[in-house]
Amino acid sequence: MDTLLQQLINGITLGAVYALVALGYTMVYGIIGLINFAHGEVVMIGTMVAFTVIVSLAGSAMAPLMILGIGVAVSVVVCMVLGWALERVAYRPLRHAPRLTPLITAIGMSIVLQNVAMIIWGRNYITFPPMIGKHIYEFGGASFTNVQIAIVTLAALMMLGLIYLVHRTRIGMAMRATAQNQHVAALMGVDIDRVIAMAFIIGSALGAVAGCMVGSYYEIAHYQMGFMLGLKAFTAAVLGGIGNLAGAMAGGLLLGVIEALGAGYIGDLTGDFLGSHYQDIFAFIVLIIVLMFRPSGLFGERTGDRA
């Protein structure tokens, strides 16, 4: 019983992060039908930038929470610029190319970003300095930390903010219109290039925050961390129905919970043949099952309620 509750708590934490990253995939896909495989690397760069800022401010007289805040803010700005530049340099020139071309470019960009990160931050794992003094709370036999509470709360607020933006603001209307019919949106006066750039910028901002969350949660970072994180978030987006915002949120949470429960029980299930370090296989089992039986995702029956 305590394992169940414990794994649920861990799963929701992880799932909140997956959801934020998945939104970046799904927003871009919803608008231009591109799977931006470099998005995981944008998240990784977000973690790394926050790391650098925090480490260089750590000796100063500033309050730790302040330092963390500055780290997150700088990371968000850097990733927004990076997302904008990716679209501008790598994808926009290929807007009318066959679909496979930008997809391969995306994989190429992800390799480029990994290598840039390796050159800047090195090949080794780096320790992400904890800036929040950790408190552990006990609840029904399970425990969770204030870091987890902060992650889940912040993620929820950001998702609410995104829903507000997409449904209640002018740019959000333009994004939805563009996702549904690009040509007609242009007829209404929507500057399509600007909307596409915004999708990358907003997705990257969410990704940067997610990257900071991952860093604070695991207290560790590595130049290849974006690969697995990106693949899992992509799985979450597919699970929810890629192109569908609410689907990405639900898919992220669901995947986090599935993975955590899987990790918690994999020993029991296999008679201790496989340990919890095999938890990564669950995401891919989910991906394969979804692609086989419901490729449009759980919420995607209407060809995706895009953006």
Binding site: A174, R176, N181, H183, V184, L187, M188, G189, D191
Partner: protein, 234 residues
């Protein structure tokens, strides 16, 4: 108001519009009729900058339109109601109408126009919160026209508003088109239904295989034996 000269459109190697010239005067309704594949929609899409013409010039109120990006046209006062309506399927009817006013910032006037459009199409008022993708074809056509009106255009380009609609619905829609025209709107109307188009318009152009072959006042075209034989099924 609109002056088109030598407009050419090609898709790959195929020429769909072969250097046509025509004009639309302020306050006029002009019909562009022709068989399937004659190049009518291609002409409208080129005017609305949804595709890049292979050549020619389009002057609108003394200004050359072709260098403008498509999203700049609505501010010039041009609205296209595309073939097949092009409603935003996962937005409500009201959201679709508001998208029509996307480029405007005069809030109070937008609300007025919304009331007026809903007055033209009471059916849309009942269906305000319904997703546009679930509206009937006729309702979607009303929505597409209403959405175009929401931009307060000076020139409306209508691509086959009667397509696929029952006669009663066609009648309703053309009633509104007539009303809008009599309020002073300039309209370029593309239609398969040549009889209807020539009945509501002042002048007409007949398009065949990418070229304009006949032009005259609509009443004359309606009486022209060749036009009657080819397009009015007589």
């Amino acid at each position: 108001m609109l002056e088109v000269n030598g407009l050419r459109v090609s898709y790959g190697g195929i020429q769909a519009v072969r250097g046509i010239s025509f004009h639309v005067n302020e306050g006029e309704m002009v019909a562009l009729i022709g068989a399937n594949g004659a190049g009518k929609s291609s002409t409208l899409r080129a005017l609305a900058r949804l595709l890049d013409p292979a050549g020619g010039s389009v002057r609108y109120r003394g200004k050359e339109l072709l260098p403008l990006p498509p999203h700049a046209l609505v501010a010039e006062g041009i609205a296209l109601v595309p073939e097949g309506r092009g409603v935003f399927p996962r937005m409500t009817s009201l959201e679709n109408l508001r998208m029509g006013a996307y480029a405007r910032s005069d809030k109070a006037a937008i609300e007025q126009d919304l009331e007026q459009v809903l007055g033209h199409f009471p059916r849309l008022k009942e269906r305000g919160q319904q997703l546009a993708g679930t509206l009937s074809g006729g309702e979607q056509q009303m929505l597409a026209i209403g959405r175009a009106l929401m931009s307060r255009p000076r020139l409306m380009l209508l691509d086959e508003p009667s397509m696929g609609l029952a006669p009663i619905m066609v009648q309703k829609i053309f009633e509104v088109i007539r009303t809008v025209a009599s309020d002073g709107m300039t309209i370029l109307l593309v239609e398969q239904n040549a009889k209807l188009a020539l009945e509501v318009s002042q002048r007409g152009y007949v398009m065949e295989s990418g070229e304009i072959t006949v032009t005259n006042e609509s009443t004359h075209l309606l009486a022209d034996p060749k036009v009657r034989a080819a397009y009015l099924g007589e």
